[in-house]
Structures are given as structure tokens and as C-alpha cells.
Subunit: 118 residues, 2 copies
């Protein structure tokens, strides 16, 4: 079956959540794509989100150099969420940590799981 980005289920704003996972299994971040960002990501192999705050394409790492090369592009059963397996250059998080999910809630409190990279 050939893939048509219009067959994905976007929300009222035309967006779909996209989870980025490193090849070692680490979940790095979650951001959003519109149909055009899906097309750009698939065509270029460079993961490209849609920035809700800037209302613009966000080629991950274009400024920081912390790019995501697309390894595999997956769609969930409801076609309303994406899982991108990526080769991540440098830290994925804007705080310079490898993953955005660096805080855990344990025993009622918050714990920091990783420090910013040097």
C-alpha cells in the first residue's frame, strides 16, 4: 500500500504528535508535525516538526546542529500518533540533555535523571 500523508488523523489544528526514539530505545522527545512536515521528513530524511510557538517548520538541529536523521517512520493503529526512530546528533533536549524526559516522579517528589552534557 502506498503511503498518503493525508490518511493520517490530524487534530483540529492539523497536527499529529511525533515521538522521537533513538536507535538504542531511549525516548528523546515528543513534538508535532503537520502534513507538510510529514512529507518533508520522509523526503529529506531530516526530521522536521511544526513549531506551534513559531508557527513555522522546525528542522530539528538546524540551529543547534543536534539533528535527527530518520531511520524508521512508524504510524500507530489509530493513525493519530507517529513514532520516529532517529539517529540523534548530540543532545535532543534544548537543555542540552540527551532526552527531554529527564525528570522522574518518585515517592511523591521529583528527581533529575540526567545532567546537561558538557
Amino acid at each position: 500500500m502506498s503511503f498518503d500523508p493525508e490518511t493520517l488523523n490530524y487534530d483540529a489544528n492539523g497536527l499529529i504528535p511525533a515521538i522521537a526514539q533513538a536507535t538504542d530505545g531511549t525516548v528523546l522527545m515528543m513534538a508535532w508535525m503537520n502534513a507538510a512536515a510529514v512529507v518533508r521528513t520522509l523526503e529529506s530524511g531530516r526530521v522536521t516538526y511544526w513549531s506551534r510557538s513559531r508557527q513555522a517548520f522546525w528542522v530539528k538541529g538546524e540551529t543547534s546542529g543536534h539533528t535527527q536523521r530518520l531511520i524508521d517512520f512508524r504510524v500507530d493503529c489509530d493513525r493519530d500518533c507517529l513514532l520516529l526512530v532517529v539517529e540523534q546528533a548530540g543532545p535532543a533536549c534544548h537543555t542540552n540533555r540527551r532526552s527531554c524526559f529527564y525528570t522522574a516522579v518518585r515517592d511523591g517528589g521529583e528527581v533529575e535523571l540526567m545532567a546537561p552534557e558538557a
Copy 2:
């Protein structure tokens, strides 16, 4: 720092996306929580989402038996996405597959990565 669920950033509908990841690193599914579902999940250790279609709590596996026991509860840098490390009983997907992300887009077409479990 003690954890207050009200410090998370919910969307206009009062919801936050929650990614469920198995202990072996497999990303199983993504669903939504409201603040009350966050509290129930942390207090009970049984992952409880908010069903947008039913507008009701969704204790994962309550009907199917395919429960998710919470192992670790993580928050991202923007506090607007959750990552739940879970012990998944049986398949996570309603199609009886281990993960909801069983479709990949490769070479312009769709490929099924896993079959339903017996």
C-alpha cells in the same frame, strides 16, 4: 521537590499526552491523561488514561486484562508530555499486537511490522 500534578502543562482540553514504554524499550502506545488521571496513576500504580471518546477514566486493561503497571513516571522539559515506563501484561494494542506502532512507512509504502498475538 514534591510533585504537584497542577504544575504540568495541560492543553486547552485539560489533557497531556502520555507515552507508554515497556521496560525493554519498546514504545507501546500514546494516550492522554488529565490531572485526575495523573493522580490515580501515581497513587494506584495502575496506568489510568482519560478516554477522549468516552470522556471517562480508562484504567488500561480493566476490560482486556492487558494492564500496565507503572514502573517510572517521567515528565519532559516543557512539562507538557509524560513518559511512563510500564510493565505491560499482554499486548498493549487493541488489535492484539504488542505495540500500537506496528506500521512503518518505507520506500513510499506501508509495511506491517508485527502480527496480532495468538
